[in-house]
Symmetry: C2
Subunit: 110 residues, 2 copies
DNA sequence: CTCATATTTGGCAGTTTAGCCAAATGACCA
DNA sequence: TGGTCATTTGGCTAAACTGCCAAATATGAG
């Protein structure tokens, strides 16, 4: 199955979503939103411990990928997760990491 | 739950794995390997349609993240997927894309 | 040993990303 | 209207990522 244009488009679309999560801060934001529900930028900024402009940009990346949506309430903006299956993501990633850890152990044991 | 050092490490480890998949070619490689089993670099290169050195580098990225492992057979190197749950990944990503498509429709319908 | 094949690696140029500060925008209140 | 507060955006620099070519490495065949 050689990659044609349609295939290429498919994987580019998927990559845009994955890329949106490919940053520790953004993974934290997704995790936080999935566990505790909607949060405003100010709360998230405090949790992350970075400049608010930085957090705002990370949230914009997640939004552009369709992973979160925002809602303005007064002068605050609340972000919430748009898709719930992201938790499965984390489970899978953890299993990769666990597998890596086991391999590491095996190497050290020699 | 403010991000402390341990938390930060956790999300950085996860991000390394996600980042390894954050590229259309690498997503294709993972998908191909999960569907058709072990493949040598030469086969994958033909499927991708890029320089072999480029494909080799992509495979090295996947390997460094622990997503694939390689095995040398003669002068060829075969790569295979190390963790099976990656398919769930794709399902989730597709559901995000489907959600995006619906929103897009809704916007156009106005 | 010599040649051919398969793969990896060095190095370079162009593009993208990250994070901060400062400035702009938007909403609320007095 | 003027002043805050919450958030986003412009602009800049440093770092990371990509893809190709060319060269190096490794394996097998004759």
């Amino acid at each position: 199955m050689i990659m044609n244009t349609a295939q290429r488009d498919k994987y580019e679309a998927r990559a845009r979503v994955v890329k949106a999560m490919a940053h520790p801060t953004r993974l934290f934001l997704v995790d936080e939103l999935s566990q505790s529900g909607p949060r405003c930028v100010c709360e998230l900024t405090e949790l992350v411990g970075a400049d608010m402009s930085t957090v705002s940009r990370h949230l914009a990346v997640l939004k552009a990928a369709g992973l979160v949506e925002d809602e303005k309430r007064g002068q605050m903006v609340f972000y919430r997760l748009r898709v719930k299956c992201v938790m499965d993501f984390f489970d899978c990633i953890e299993s990769v990491l666990a597998c890596n850890a086991r391999s590491q152990q095996a190497l050290l044991a020699r």
